[in-house]
């Protein structure tokens, strides 16, 4: 069996989440990788150990990862593959279901464990249940939760690179613009430590009070939906059922109540810390360490304690 893995890249590098997808794919068979982007990206993909061949999409539509040409490309390549795999994320979720429809396949999103070539475990109902499903489709199209698979190394391999192009089709969509939220911090889906703020942060100005703590811990910053909806931070900070799914070593929830939709995105973290002034907040039911108190008093104390501990 040979598996096609769709790799996502950022700033010339293959994203760590995609390297986790490679690990999941290697459990199923030989692995070929499909990348969009320039030659440097293809070269980075070729260096991931375990990848036997890199397919590089070279046409314009795929440069912006537009769903229509990319899905058509994936479907046109699918013939020789038993499985098509990508890390769950905005690009894969946009493209793979469309490709699956073209192949008359029911996709299997957010796989957390591979039982065998046909059988996969995935969370449903915001992670309130884990469903084991068996696919009767001739090909399997799946996305995997990066946090459940160790990333393949970035270096060590030397796969051949081959160019591929999407089949001719009328361009029904056009890329207009992208507004990237800038951050010097680690990415949420690969950070070792995450500091997340909720409605309790009150406003955009106060939300910045999480930064000194995040700086000291080398942490990424996340947020609840309430904090994003209120405009404290951009949309891609959202952790939860409908945001990012994270599982860092340490997750610190500050002024977050712990709604099931939020827990769905972070309850697999190794250690959870909750800071909340309400001792009854549901977040304390999943927290390893709970600190009841006003976050505006606790945050400076934490910084001081960290500085003292050195």
């Amino acid at each position: 069996m040979t598996v096609l893995v769709l790799l996502d890249h950022e700033a010339g590098a293959i994203r760590q989440a995609s390297r986790s997808a490679v690990t999941a794919a290697l459990a199923l068979g030989d692995v070929h990788a499909l990348v969009t982007g320039d030659a440097a990206v293809a070269a980075a993909a070729a260096r991931i150990p375990g990848i036997a061949q890199v397919l590089r999409a070279t046409d314009a539509g795929s440069a912006h990862d537009l769903a229509e040409p990319l899905a058509a490309l994936v479907a046109s390549l699918a013939g020789e593959y038993s499985h098509i795999v990508a890390a769950s994320g905005a690009t894969a979720k946009n493209v793979l279901p469309r490709a699956a429809a073209l192949l008359d396949v029911q996709p299997i999103p957010d796989v957390v464990s591979v039982v065998d070539a046909e059988t996969f475990v995935r969370p449903i109902y915001a992670g309130s249940a884990l469903a084991t499903v068996r696919s009767s489709d001739a090909k399997k199209v799946l996305t995997v939760r990066a946090s459940n698979f160790d990333p393949a190394p970035a270096e060590g391999g030397s796969a051949a690179v081959r160019d591929v192009t999407a089949p001719e089709a009328p361009a029904v969509s056009e890329f207009v613009s992208i507004e990237r939220s800038k951050s010097e911090r680690p990415e949420l889906d690969s950070a070792r430590v995450i500091v997340s703020g909720g409605r309790g942060m009150q406003n955009e100005e106060n939300f910045k009070r999480l930064e000194p703590l995040a700086d000291r811990l080398g942490a990424a910053i996340g947020a609840s939906r309430a904090a994003v909806d209120a405009g404290f931070v951009p949309n891609d900070y959202q952790v939860g059922q409908t945001g990012k799914i994270v599982a860092p070593e340490l997750y610190i929830a500050v002024g977050i109540s712990g709604a099931i939709q939020h827990l769905a995105g972070m309850k697999d973290s190794k250690v959870i810390v909750a800071i909340n002034k309400d001792p009854e907040a549901p977040i304390f039911q999943v927290a390893d360490y709970g600190l009841v108190g006003d976050l505006f008093e606790v945050l400076p104390q934490l910084e001081a304690a960290l500085d003292k501990a050195g």
Binding site: H64, A90, T91, K93, N94, V95, P97, R98, A99, A100, A101, L102, D104, Q106, P107, P109, D110, P123, I124, Y125, S128, A129, L130, A131, T132, V133, R134, S135, V172, S173, F175, V176, I178, E179, R180, S181, V193, R225, D229, P234, N235, D236, T242, L250, I260, K270, V271, V273, Q285, V286, D288, Y289, G290, L291, Q301, L302, A304, A305, L306, A309
Partner: protein, 249 residues
């Protein structure tokens, strides 16, 4: 311009689902059901397009059991003009839903289909993309803003690194994200009016669609539970424990 809005009946988002003891699924008997929250946002967007004079007719569709009528009535009360129930006892997967919707698109010829980005029961996040693929239409998924002008839909999308804007030729598919709008509550007079709005019932077979699932559910289990830990007294205590006990800093 005609807008089609598929709406799904799901366990209310405020209710914590319970796994059935026999491991076959999640308990739905006697559980409060509501319209999928993302679909409320989709209906709201369609209604706003009508209020702006861009949409002329809104057709709500649900694929499911008889009680999905209630969900359709909610859509009608929010401002949809008529409803179609595709009646089936099968828990139809996104592929099947997309095929049913494709058949309805052939009958209704909408210019725009607005779906929710994700149903909060199966968490698939697939149906809109699949329908777009089957139709060969453009797709604007995870939309936080939609503007219709000059025969195109300009859609701002929530993606991993921020926001992306794409321009789609109509007819097109849009899937609604959380921040597209805030759905209205149906007023009592509108709920009364909705009772008189037309609702038609068809079967997947009438549309020539086979909705047999491709995925067999082997088992459904409770995820490993997380135990509540300890309450710490102070920030200094917390830092000490993270360092010495948990060894994560």
């Amino acid at each position: 311009m005609k807008v089609l809005v598929p709406v799904k009946r799901v366990i209310d988002f405020n209710i914590k689902p319970r796994v059935k003891a026999d491991g076959t699924g999640v308990e739905t008997a006697g559980v409060k059901m509501s319209m999928n929250p993302f679909d409320e946002i989709a209906v709201e967007e369609a209604v706003r397009l009508k209020e702006k004079g861009i949409a002329t007719e809104i057709v709500a569709v649900s694929i499911g059991v008889q009680q999905a009528q209630d969900t359709l009535r909610t859509a009608l009360a929010m401002g949809a003009d008529r409803a179609i129930l595709v009646l089936t006892d099968v828990a139809v997967e996104p592929l099947g839903v997309a095929k049913v919707l494709k058949a309805l698109v052939a009958k209704e010829s909408p210019d725009l289909v607005i779906l929710g980005k994700q149903a909060i029961d199966d968490d698939m996040n697939a149906t809109g993309q699949m329908l777009a693929g089957l139709l060969g239409w453009a797709q604007g998924t995870f939309a936080s803003k939609v503007e219709i002008a000059d025969g195109r839909a300009v859609v701002t999308r929530e993606i991993d690194g921020g926001l992306e804007t794409v321009s789609l030729a109509l007819p097109a598919i849009v899937t609604a994200d959380l921040r597209l709008n805030e759905p209205r509550y149906a007023s009592l007079p509108n709920i009364m009016k909705a009772r008189k709005k037309p609702m038609e019932t068809v079967a997947p077979g009438d549309l020539g669609v086979d909705v047999t699932p491709r995925l067999t559910i082997v088992s459904v289990a409770e995820p490993p539970a997380r135990k509540a830990g300890v309450k710490v007294e102070s920030a200094a205590d917390l830092v000490a424990r993270l360092r010495n006990e948990a060894k994560v800093i």
